[in-house]
Symmetry: C2
């Protein structure tokens, strides 16, 4: 027997409609690609989204069609979030840091019909437009007529011109909440990128989850600045959740450097920042060089890759901003776990707080976590045993787009490719990627632990650890270090620093210095490239 | 095209499973019906719920069957919440304050198969058991063998004895999330009570909504004491939401008086209270008489009926506890709106804060609100126009149980029976019940505004306003007052007090003093009874 409750599907259009009805005057502020700061409101975003939807309908966009974006975090991108998904079409956000080959691959694989791009990326659009065979029917520059780029693209449309021709009269269509809403390809460090297809249901449930008090706690009281890009994993769901709660939203456009972000934080009274560690390293360096403090910021959500303790300390002690460490993947919409302190942590000394904050946190209700050994047997949740991390839940991928036999789950669980520990409260700590963990003499050495230890060494700017084949031990660790500018650090000095800080058998067999680490399109160090580069390396011991 | 996300139904069993996996050691504390404080944990509640489910299966309970409870807020009641719904059966919580006739009516109408009851209510159970024709197959006393009540009920079972015979090995079944989970009858001030049937989907979505930062904000950091009864509208969803976030839960059992609540708050370090104004009036009176403060309490959620300003002031200024005023109905699961201050209210003087806090708040994402005139035309959301309040959303009733043609919605909206104003931010203020608003000369006088004005008059303990037929004006207001103990207030004094505080034509045509107001089973003043009692009243003017 069914309950007798109203039958209303969970649709993304209901988020922007809610924003228009109940927080129409709350601001949406963008640092535009054209330069100036643009001030708008959720009410205006809602109206413009409907005009855009009417334009898309005239362009022939129908339910299930893919509309691609190559764009920064801007209001026009936000309008596409609601207009495309609101119609039941699929928003394919493309990472502009993909190589031209990968870019062409994902557009072909997704069979995109339209490509909206920021003028920053006109060259990428031209590469796509010049290809003889393509599903793409046309290109739209996300700007106004005055800023139409000089371009070889035939029939290039302009975002604002499309909107100006349309009315904002539109009733969002109703459809099954399992309908696909957006599409994001994984960064694909090996093989082709794989497409994850989110649904309206998964997006709305994930939005609820990230507004919970014990998670990202997005709120009407916040001024939210997502530095995390809207071109990857829907900016952690922040655009949807902010519409839902009526948070003032500040979009940084292309200005991701420390100076631009600091200006925006100060001018808009930002209270909540979200982004990856590399962005924060730049911001902190800028603030330090200017002797500035993050006055209004109350919390900084850090994810995408593990956040170093020095960064947590810099925000919490140096800027009085609470760090919320979170973990997720493209395949998990993306938020899976969030590190928020529990009542039992009250009064804990800072060193323990810090070591707790280094963990990736606890699952939000909706997802479940477990760790398993190589044979798939569940391991104890004792905070010590480490195993392959698996996750399941209604916002976790069940397969990849257009990839036969790509069921991502085994026994109902998705294998994350991470190595982690879990404790009795569900607190998860990633110790490594399955492919990066260093297997030495039948035991595992965490490349992340090794890197974190090295990062604490004075004179180390950044570092990467990885395993190289070894005749006796299977693998042995190698450490590659980038020196801080103006320092003369030696391998012996690094080794002495590490010596007392880890078991002897964890110590790297070799330390080399490089100018820079190879970085992939989502800001992660490409360890495969390092392993290839040092493939022939002969250990001295 | 569908998204490629895991297909997991939203089921109540997933809440207790989540609690067991990720906050097994968080406490659940009960003031038992037997007397002592009982300490347990979410892990233990989860295990006992599975044992109870195994017992229910042996008792023949199947998906869709109704299992009734007549019980206080206790751990055993909590176990029934998860065990009954977890199996796909329907938990029918009965309000013990119903008259014996209404009690029999709801049990028959629901076709309950089992009745679980607290020993407090053994007489009610005996009345039900003595009836010759009934769907009820048996009765279970919610206690242990040592406290088995002396009773005439044949084959009376005992809750703990049932559990002791069972194992906790059970895998919760999976089924459609729209499956009915629980059933609650409206208080039914006129006509028969009507049954509202919640679903797993509506319950889980509502749980997410009440854990949002800008709503009830239930959290792992809280020690939550729901005084709001589990026998009515699922205690505002608090049991589910606390399982989901891992809040320590403190259940007051039958101890709803000021002294018992104060003891529990102090002993357990309660941070979050939820309940109706009448309970808080008793608590505040007790605290005042003892010269005590609510030390650990940070927030008090008040709903069920409008909260007077004096109560808000007493909590906020006298006890440093933030009041969160909320509104909902049996038909809305129940939470519809929550009053949480917005950024623009910062720095507002206390008098304005107070007048804002008197409003019922803003809708949580998921529900939508509007006000309409008598013809059903939507009225402006300007904070001034008042009209019939309507609501819609996935946790709003679409009809009543076993009642042909009882579609509660018109044009997709549920008519709440309230008169309210809405402002541009969606802030809703109830000005009256549709049936209580006083229609004088074609204009509306809010009975609630009149009562609130009277409550501010020194010497008034409580008051009720209602309309009586009037030959010229259609209706004119009458005010009935209960004097504060030891005062000698006169009608003239009340009238003088009111005179400057409202438009002249709002002033009651008559003021009478009574010993007590008639109160219905959910604690609301029965204005129909008052109108009947004073039906023949002849106005002096």
């Amino acid at each position: 027997m069914f309950g007798q409750m109203m039958d209303q599907p969970l649709l993304i259009s209901s988020q922007i409609s809610f924003a228009e009805r109940f927080h129409a005057d709350v601001e949406v502020v963008t640092r535009t690609v054209e330069g100036p700061i643009h001030r708008s409101t959720w009410g205006e975003v809602a109206r413009r989204s409907r005009r855009l939807a009417n334009a898309l309908l005239k362009m022939g966009v129908r339910e299930g069609d893919r509309v691609a974006t190559i764009a920064w975090n801007t209001q026009r991108h936000l309008e596409l979030y609601f207009a495309v998904s609101g119609l039941g079409a699929i928003l394919h956000t493309i990472n502009p840091r993909l190589s031209p080959e990968q870019l062409a691959y994902v557009v072909d694989h997704a069979a995109d019909e339209w490509v909206f791009f920021d003028t920053t990326f006109v060259k990428l659009a031209e590469i796509l437009a010049a290809r003889p065979k393509s599903t793409v029917r046309g290109f739209v520059a996300m700007t106004d007529e005055a800023h139409r780029p000089a371009s070889s693209i035939e029939g290039l449309l302009v975002h604002d011109t499309l909107l100006e021709a349309e009315s904002d009269a539109l009733v969002w269509p109703t459809f099954d909440e399992r309908t696909a809403s957006s599409l994001c390809y994984t960064s694909g460090t090996s093989g082709h990128p794989k497409g994850v297809v989110y649904s309206h249901r998964s997006t709305v449930l994930h939005s609820y989850a990230v507004t919970m008090t014990d998670t990202l706690a997005l709120s009407a009281a916040d001024v939210t600045l997502p530095v995390v890009p809207m071109f990857h994993v829907n900016a952690w769901g922040v655009p949807y959740a902010c519409a839902m709660v009526g948070s003032k939203l500040v979009l940084p456009g292309p200005g991701l450097d420390g100076k631009s972000l600091t200006e925006l934080v100060e001018a808009e009274g930002v209270t909540s920042l979200l982004g990856v560690p590399t962005v924060w390293a730049n911001l902190l360096a800028h603030l330090a060089s200017e002797g500035k403090k993050l006055g209004t910021v109350k919390k900084v959500v850090i994810g995408g890759s593990a956040c170093p303790g020095t960064m947590i300390e810099a925000f919490e002690k140096g800027h009085n901003a609470r760090v919320i460490h979170a973990w997720g993947m493209t395949e998990t919409s993306p938020v899976g776990t969030v590190n928020v302190m529990l009542p039992e942590h009250e009064g804990m000394p800072w060193s323990e707080v810090l070591s707790y904050k280094l963990k990736q946190g606890r699952p939000m209700y909706g997802v479940d976590l477990r760790i398993v050994d190589d044979e798939g047997t569940e391991l104890p949740r004792d905070g010590k045993a480490s195993g392959h991390l698996q996750i399941r839940g209604p916002w976790v991928a069940s397969g990849y787009f257009r990839q036969e036999g790509s069921d991502t789950h085994h026994d109902g669980w998705f294998a994350t490719g991470d190595i982690a520990t879990l404790d009795a409260r569900g607190t998860m700590q990633i110790t490594d990627r399955s492919k990066d963990v260093i297997k030495s003499g039948g035991e595992w050495i965490s490349s992340i632990d090794l890197e974190n230890a090295a990062l604490a060494c004075p004179g180390v700017q950044t570092a990467a650890a990885f395993g190289l084949p070894h005749p006796k031990w299977q693998e042995r660790p190698m450490l590659v270090v980038v020196r801080a500018p103006g320092t003369e650090l030696t391998a012996n000095e690094v080794m002495s620093f590490l010596a007392g800080r880890m078991p002897r058998w964890w110590l790297p067999d070799a330390i080399e210095f490089v100018e820079a680490l190879p970085i992939g399109p989502t800001g992660k160090v490409l360890k495969r490239t390092l392993r290839e580069r040092f493939a022939g390396y002969v250990f001295s011991t």
